[in-house]
Symmetry: C2
Subunit: 672 residues, 2 copies
């Protein structure tokens, strides 16, 4: 407390503004906004104000007038509950859309100052954080993207750092382990994590639940790690210098006091997640030497902060010059990737693949078909960065042209993520947030559960991340119920804005890849089969049928009595059932439904035409029937799974669980 | 390889049987079973056969004739893909239901030898493993349960160890971080993890994706950690001795060769997950000095293994004597807890709480009501072990009578799990698997996503774990969309066997707790509100209405035209809408639906009566409408969320998203 107590606030000009004045501006805004909202987290911004002031003042490269400047440093507030730290900094340094009015509307409907920072709400919010560990994981992806683009475009265009503020909670979450070990392995030296080591969590002292030696832990990951007094600006600056000098990612454990400045609540969990109250705030004003009113920042202090912001303008202008000087081809290509525009010719490439497939009609697993598509795409779309969570051969995500990204050599376009589905998904979000790359990666569909919190944030953040998820049903066979997704399609379909794509054959796989790539503002899950599937599509090389979400694959031979609805590996079951029904004089159409969410967006008349308004509808999917009532009938004629799977060869399982053409026929006859 | 190459197999009697003979029996069975199944993972069992032989031979306390002997050591094969290691050991040591026939039926439909070990399929399978890291997390819970019961019943009844075999993949997963830091913090010295440090993962050398110094990492967690040659039996034994001598949990990194003995594939990822092939197996037989045919274990070797198993019989008999000697009260109580039978009087206790609530009619958040219920239950059910992932005050999981479990003092009944939802859920599974305790814990409903893989395994394993998940909708207000569950109810309802319980008021909260506790073979999620809710129930102190899953809370005043279906915090919205509709002469009933899965199990006539066969059905839930079509109509009259939430005060959000009585009335009128 000593430093704060001795702060003078007799300010003449910006030159006389001290570090403490600048840090106290953050503290005051945080106290005031939380108090006004009667909700929020003052403790962290007050505790980390010193560290953040050093970082923004002396290190962070940013231009508040150009929040999307590609070569800016990335600042990630992983401890998103301390959002007022970020909002204060954005206001103070002069981001135009972060006005004082917004701070006063903290946590109110329609404001840019949500409870936790939301990407897209205001410039300078690099990612949505709050669910702990996610920002940390995003930052690993951002730091990786920087190196990957640096390897392609050179130091003069790509030369920036990724800084993170992380809390105890971030480091307790398992995702921090996955993300940190990836960063250590890949030697992402431009990643600097400032750990708010305040010793306090919501339940009380972190001693209640934690006794990890974080410095030792991060050293074990191959990081540069050290401890520092987080209220000693010179020591913090020295530590950041040392971090920048190291070729390893760095963890700086900053010993801080939560709620620094609050006379009674500093150092207590009571300052973490609730307003301090009028009395305590008055006491803090006194203790900090901050006599100014609520939301009042004296002009010299604001000016000092604005100067920090303004300094970035020169840097970004110089960078513009370098981009212009790089030549038209490089500039055009750099900007195309940065803006997320796909290269021309994707449609032609997909059509070419489809033409071959329509001719050859391979019986092939859709995961294998996906690899065929990727062989055509990866070379054509150099910003695609592939990978897998240690299942490259099973997910078929790696192509002949891929080069692996390794420590010190980032020219590659394939990442071995290790058995780290969650860290991988969070890092993919970071890659996408950074821009200039399009990440896709693989794991088994069952492990979407491990990655789910990050997939959700991709959806919230409107990120184009593509998740290749193979072994998408009991069709994976002998690995058994621990590996057989049952409820996963439903639970992913329930997630807003996520594209769930389950192609029925090789042609649909090509189409679904196109849909995923063209969905610039949504993540996609490609649910792919382990087992071989017959070629079902006879036509449509030029038109992408999957863009409709669902379509009539085989029309009824006659007046339609039945619509068989299926996705993925069960579509051929429906086709076979249709033939059997035809023999019995029952006329059925087969609808392939690769994507519910896209189909839902189609006009009602199209949906009616596909579903058949007066036909009996029977759904077939080797998964939970949960949600299928949306498309079938009230009590749901559904042929699929009722519970968990079993371990046995694929064919035995389909018979055992009654997902066969015969079962479909019998269900239809029961209902007709 | 040297040791293996010099193995003689000229065996006269069990006395002459060597370590290598015994280990080779495991290797041979693993090779043969995978080869016969044409599917599976031979590499790990062959690599870890030496370590497992030392463990089972010299340390593990078990009685194959009594797989449920409470004081047995627990052996967890976290690297579940190496299931043939476990199955071989169970057969060799004489577990009666693990016959040679079962080994020959490895991975076939109906066998006990699933691709990954499945709890309940055969004695000696302590937990279902395969999804990496889960077994490790379970083991932490088992080791904790042992200490907790030891603190209650003493060394003479509870005195055992938990051993784990874990792989690179287990240790890469984030859950390993959470579980290990909990174990280190709580000083679970009876946990010994044997890490199969074979340097190989599916994609190839672990160097491709990992460079963590695991010994240093675990030391940072407060573990005893060391490295050992996993093919040197004496060294392994010495390491286990040292682990047992330490008062910390131990990690023994066993340097092994995957596929040990296979002439060409040993040390390669090619031996990991596919049959070795006839030639390679023949070569391995030669190299290992194992001339016996497939599935053939020479009598002396089998006898030696069976003697290992038989030795446990004496120990378990001695334990029986001690239990008898402990006196009737202790014996009865010990067995009651061990068998998972609730103490008598639960129903009365719940009724008593309900009577008070029916009288007082408090307007209270269901999370708060849950705490009231817990105050009554925790003392009465001493085997309940509460906890929270650092949200004790928010989840209201801690009662006045709780005592915290700490390192060295395990007499408590409350665990501060830290910000570790996944590790907590996996450890809860371990607590439940161990038996003698009933774990419940809290976090926000949004973070069910973090814990999901473990919740699924609780459902597969039929475990009574109770997840208190509060802040269950946009009703949490200002924390915003990162913390507002939308699709979570749907995605949990889609999971087989999971009870999802969402009570509408305090009385229903008491009932849902009773349902959860009485669901001895299923995990439960209690979705509870942050915001206060009016008392809705006027009666039913003695009968538990929530046992029906759904029921008519307020009947239609007249011939029913409309059924309003709602759960949790939206039931009162429905009640208010009903009154408004009544004013307009529209007769509506309100159905409270705390649990879909239970309602689904009711007889059709009851369901029809509740839903109203000819009434318009309108569902109201502050969540995704996904799945509601099951209960409403085909196109779903649904008042709820269409996308992600927002940050604002609760009342503003309900208005903003149109989840109000007025909106319900207007929807009804549109449809009628």
């Amino acid at each position: 407390m000593d430093t704060a107590q001795t702060t003078a606030s007799t300010l003449g000009s910006a030159d006389q503004v001290t570090h403490n004045d600048m840090a106290n501006a953050i503290r005051a805004l945080a106290m005031d906004a939380v108090q006004k909202a009667q909700s929020g987290h003052p403790g962290m911004p007050m505790g980390m104000a010193d560290v953040a002031t050093v970082l923004f003042n002396r290190f962070l490269k940013f231009d508040p007038k150009r929040p999307d400047w590609p070569d800016r440093d990335r600042f990630v507030l992983s401890a998103g509950h301390g959002s007022m730290l970020l909002y204060s900094l954005l206001y103070l340094t002069g981001y135009e859309d972060m006005t004082l009015e917004e701070l006063k509307n903290f946590r109110q409907l329609g404001s840019k100052t949500a409870g936790h920072p939301e990407y897209g709400e205001a410039g300078g919010i690099e990612t949505t954080t709050g669910p702990l560990g996610q920002g940390f994981g995003n930052a690993v992806g951002m730091a990786l993207a920087e190196r990957i683009l640096n390897a392609r475009f050179g130091d003069h265009l790509v030369d920036h750092w990724t800084y993170v503020i992380a809390s105890d909670g971030d480091l307790m979450e398992g995702i921090s382990h996955e993300a940190a070990s990836i960063a250590g392995h890949l030697g992402l030296g431009r990643l600097v994590v400032l750990f708010d080591d305040n010793g306090i969590s919501i339940d009380g002292s972190t001693d209640l639940a934690d006794s990890v030696d974080q410095v030792k832990r991060f050293e074990a990951y191959g990081w540069h790690a050290l401890r520092v007094d987080g209220h000693d600006p010179a020591a913090v600056a020295e530590a950041i210098e040392a971090a920048r000098a190291s070729d390893k990612p760095s963890l700086i454990a900053c010993k801080t006091t939560i709620g620094y400045g609050a006379p009674k609540l500093a150092g207590s969990e009571k300052s973490h997640g609730a307003p301090l109250g009028e009395d305590e705030i008055a006491g803090a004003r006194e203790k900090l030497g901050w006599p100014h009113g609520p939301f009042e920042i004296p002009e010299p202090i604001l000016h000092a902060w604005r100067q920090v912001g303004a300094a970035g303008g020169e840097l970004s202008a110089a960078w513009d010059g370098r981009l212009r000087g790089a030549g038209d081809d490089i500039r055009t290509e750099f900007l195309r990737r940065q803006e997320g525009r796909l290269p021309e010719g994707l449609g032609d490439a997909i059509s070419a693949v489809k033409r071959t497939l329509l001719e050859e009609k391979p019986k092939v697993a859709t995961r294998k078909a996906s690899q065929t598509v990727l062989e055509a795409l990866v070379e054509r779309i150099p910003e695609m960065i592939g990978g897998s969570a240690d299942l490259s051969g099973s997910n078929n995500t790696k192509t002949s042209g891929h080069q692996v990204v390794t420590r010190g050599d980032y020219a590659g376009n394939y990442v071995h993520w290790g058995v780290r589905e969650h860290g991988m998904a969070a890092a993919m979000n970071g890659l996408a947030l950074h821009g200039g790359v399009i990440p896709y990666s693989g794991t088994f569909l069952i492990f979407s559960d491990y990655a789910r919190p990050s997939i959700r944030l991709a959806a919230m953040n409107k990120l184009r991340t593509i998740h290749v998820m193979t072994h998408d049903s009991i069709g994976l066979g002998e690995d058994g119920p621990t590996h057989q997704p049952i409820e996963h399609l439903a639970s992913l379909r329930a997630m807003p804005r996520l594209r769930v794509l389950r192609p029925a054959d090789a042609v649909e796989t090509a189409e679904c890849w196109q849909v995923a790539l063209e969905s610039a503002d949504a993540p996609s899950v490609l649910a792919l089969s382990r087992q071989g599937l017959p070629a079902l599509r006879a036509e449509g090389a030029e038109e992408n049928y999957c863009r409709y979400g669902a379509y009539i694959l085989v029309p009824a031979q006659d007046h339609r009595q039945v619509t068989l609805l299926a996705s993925g590996s069960e579509v051929h079951v429906a086709v076979e059932a249709r033939a059997m029904l035809a023999e019995e004089g029952i006329s059925a159409a087969v609808v392939s439904m690769p994507s519910w969410d896209i189909f839902l967006d189609q006009p009602a008349h199209y949906r009616d035409e596909v579903l058949g308004t007066s036909a009996l509808r029977v759904a077939i999917e080797a998964a939970s029937g949960f949600g299928w009532e949306r498309w079938t009938t009230l009590d749901g004629a559904f042929v699929g799974m009722k519970g968990f799977g079993a371990s046995a060869p694929t064919g035995d399982l389909y018979k055992h669980f009654g997902i066969t053409p015969e079962a479909v026929v019998s269900t239809v006859k029961d209902w007709l």
